[in-house]
Symmetry: C2
Subunit: 555 residues, 2 copies
């Protein structure tokens, strides 16, 4: 693609109402255009990325035998009235009427519709399990659309629905979907975690959500505190959570021979927020709380007021020894050293009971992380003034075991089909994935794309192409050679300052950049720049295309 025949749409300035880096970069790099509050058009560069991500999802869904369909966006309201969600879904449901006053909704999700189809069309038990998916626009009347495409009125979702005649079959597909989602997010190079979740308005009894870290804060933790990315992600595959009866805390050491660094303790303090009386501070059993650090946290009352045993008994109804992070009745701030614990032990918030094999994210949602530990070296405290790190994350996927909730309703519709099918449903916020990716993969110059989802593989920047015949000839030759190998090339043939070309190409984030100048061509070389490493090397002008093809193959 030649830039003159393309619509680059990059921006120098960004509007002041963009709160997060992905929103800023998507607007600046010309991926999206804001039509209205929570409404965006996909511009050519954004659409190229979106299509590639859709295809990765299709590819992984097809692998496990899910079948693609496409439902309408408008659903008759009667389907939603039957399930009860026409009212229970709340104000986020977009409703409309047609010219005959018939009621409709704009689909945020498809449980009712797909269940109806299954009951109308499939009368043979042998067809189950069956699993349908679709990738399409969904709608949510957000009270406050923000963060660009992350919280929008209209967004693109992959939703899928599986139907089963027994629980074992449902569980098998559910577990397969957890793996498939991990495979998809891994292919997108997303740093994510999976944890048990509330089922909310979708309903059902078992549910997990996938969250992608937002880069900035996460990077701070991982760089400052050496929390390796692998450690947190690996928490997905760990010990089982076990409830163990322990009469006395000392049994932990004496009977079970547990080291103190495997135990998490909770210290309860008064909150600075009127709506929340107390806040829990979680530290390793062998670490001491630094009162000064704790007092600087905005959720914590200053001066610090630690709850005594009686106060705990009164509010939490348990003995202080059995406090733990799971089902704790107050917000929890976790120390940097505690958040990297794996398979640890803590109270179960039930008298005489402990949990063994606890893991963050899988068993407890991590919201607040901070430096709480007392150290002899007081310099550390002053170095790290931003003491309250807020570990933001973006929900990118959600899977549910719905059981018979929807099929019960549908089976009433069609009386000759009595058995209640078990159902699972699985969603991915497709457009959100792009925002999550950019949150995690950018630098001060712009986005950093990986090869599988980059809008273009290679950019050609010719210096003074309209003055130098040699530059023009070489650029055109390399461009055609690469195009003939199905490499997606952006050939920047604009009559502008090369500096602007560099800025645009780096902002868009094309991973491989070729710079062709008269000066280098004198020595029969051109420059290759790797956008991610920043490394520049001179390469043989005659074999430039081969050089790039080799890199692309080995990526």
């Amino acid at each position: 693609m030649r830039t003159n025949q393309y619509y680059l749409a990059t921006l120098r300035e960004i509007s002041s109402d963009t709160e997060n880096i992905s929103h800023q970069l998507m607007l600046r790099s010309g991926m999206i255009y804001k039509v209205g509050s929570g409404l965006y058009s996909w511009l050519p560069t954004g659409l190229r990325v979106l299509k590639k991500i859709k295809n990765i999802i299709r590819n992984e869904m097809n692998k496990i035998g899910a079948i693609e369909t496409l439902a309408p966006i408008i659903h008759p309201a009667e389907l939603w009235e039957k399930s009860g969600r026409y009212t229970t879904y709340g104000q986020e449901l977009f409703k409309l009427i047609d010219r005959r006053n018939k009621k409709f909704i704009l689909s945020p999700t498809n449980e009712e519709l797909i269940t109806q189809m299954i009951y109308h069309k499939i009368h043979n038990h042998k067809k189950f399990p069956i699993h349908f998916y679709q990738i399409s626009s969904k709608f949510r009347d957000e009270i406050r659309p923000r963060f660009g495409i992350i919280r929008a009125k209209e967004f693109i979702m992959k939703d899928s629905y599986s139907f089963h005649t027994n629980q074992r079959s449902l569980e098998s597909t559910y577990n397969m979907m957890r793996k498939t989602y991990s495979a998809i997010f891994n292919r997108l190079h997303l740093n994510f975690f999976c944890l048990p979740a509330e089922t909310g308005r979708i309903g059902g009894y078992i549910s997990h959500e996938f969250q992608a870290y937002c880069n900035q804060k996460y990077e701070k933790i991982s760089l400052n505190k050496k929390v390796s990315k692998n450690k947190i992600i690996s928490s997905m595959n760990t010990d089982q959570l076990k409830l163990v009866e322990i009469k006395n805390k000392s049994e932990l050491f004496k009977k079970f021979h547990i080291y103190k660094n495997k135990i998490l303790k909770i210290i309860l303090v008064h909150s600075s927020n009127k709506d929340i009386p107390y806040v829990g501070l979680a530290l390793r059993e062998d670490h001491m709380l630094d009162v000064n650090k704790a007092e600087e946290l905005y959720l914590v009352q200053k001066p610090l007021k630690i709850l005594n045993n009686n106060e705990i008994k009164a509010y939490f109804k348990i003995h202080v020894n059995y406090l733990g992070p799971i089902n704790l009745k107050c917000p929890l701030i976790i120390d940097y050293y505690a958040v990297i614990m794996k398979n640890f032990i803590s109270g179960a918030n039930i008298d005489n009971k402990y949990f063994f094999g606890i893991n963050w994210y899988r068993d407890i949602f991590v919201k607040y992380v901070a430096d709480l530990r007392y150290t002899a070296n007081q310099n550390i405290k002053n170095k790290n003034k931003d003491t309250h790190a807020y570990l933001k994350s973006i929900e990118i996927g959600h899977i549910f075991q719905l059981g018979t909730q929807y099929s019960k309703i549908a089976s009433n519709m069609k009386k000759n089909y009595h058995e209640c099918l078990l159902m699972g449903c699985y969603g991915i916020g497709v457009s959100r994935l792009i925002a999550a990716y950019i949150e995690q993969h950018h630098d001060s110059n712009g986005i950093l794309w990986h090869q599988e989802i980059t809008p273009f593989h290679v950019a050609i920047i010719p210096i003074c192409i309209y003055k130098s015949e040699k530059v023009k000839k070489t650029s055109e030759k390399i461009y055609h050679q690469l195009c003939n190998h199905n490499v997606e090339v952006l050939f920047d043939d604009r009559l502008i300052n090369p500096g602007i070309m560099f800025t645009d190409i780096e902002l868009i984030g094309i991973p491989h950049i070729l710079i062709i100048s008269e000066n280098n061509l004198k020595n029969a070389t051109i420059e290759y720049k790797n956008r991610i490493t920043g490394h520049i090397s001179k390469i043989d002008a005659h074999h430039a295309a081969d050089y790039v093809l080799k890199i692309l193959k080995n990526f």
Copy 2:
């Protein structure tokens, strides 16, 4: 794809409310599922075809440098209020409000939105002409949804918008789009025609629409009356229409030396319909009207009552000599011999004026075609009892030169950009194309797909696969060989009567069918059936895959 892992969704029965063959066949072959009035889900087989058609359109649009984008479905109403269409578009516009009572519409088309973006984002004249397209769901609050996906509330449309700084540039793109649309419809093997059209609610000053014939009636004409398809389609490139002053009809013969078979005459008769007083019958000047045939037409009053000169003068305000098909104030029924005329001459419905170079479809919409001509051989009349052929057609594309209609409004939005851009807009009813295709390509057993858009290239029908190890082994081998060459194969591995398999495969319309049976394998052969020709041949079982690959290549 193995049928057991697929969702075939074919139906034995069809509901009685399907009015046309494409609707019936799409439901029966499991391409679509009806969710509600004018609302359909695309099932796996339908979605496969839809995707291929989308890609053909993308391919042709990309060839002429149009750039793909994707607008949201919900548009802020204020954009439509500014253009005036929020009210003028009428009741077909779906309107909705969000939780804050802000007004929105569900997009039937995108002129306002794209124009706003152009004016906000493009400030450099050199970027023009620029042409954006998108393929997405569109909405129309139809008063009476019918004909399946042909007249639906929600449908898939390719809409595109070009912007120009001068009329010549607009015309050049407009003409290119006429060619591109023809290329797309030809690739889809559609029998279509293009004619000047009303601009309607879209606005603008020049417009053409593309109509696809509905097969049944058209075939009757072409077979019975030898109207070759090429003749009608070639009417696209013909003489210019000219208005010529002629004082006396005899001048035509004396001064211009015109043969009578190049002139069209109109005979006006009383109508059988109370709402329409008169009906025109169009014949070649050298042909005579058969009164008996005319009386059998349902629009014509029986006994036939031909208007005299005074009656014509009173109602049509012109002399009988200057009657013609263009701007005629009543419906027109065209004789089979008249409808195949090209570059012909007829009155202009203005006294002393004739049109030269008239062509059907381009200059006049053809709605009613019938056998009107008197012939000495009276047997013909009785043979053809169905005398009133109704040439139905489906609108599949529409192109407009809009001029400055929308850009005027947009330029007011952004004051620093004063020039009014000229605009063209171009639509294709993507989902409709499938219906139009099926109307033209089917037989009594089902759909007949061409290779480029068929849901599967090849079907494998193994006879008694669960009894014969030999059949199983051969089928699996051929299946894998074809899959390895990226051939899309439907392998019917269902444990059912082979008769049902045949019915399903022929209904779906897969063009190449391989039948593998124990009996034939004894002679090391299998059967190949061509769905379109119906021809069955025995082929070498060992080289079956190669045989099919060769056919697919030569298609």
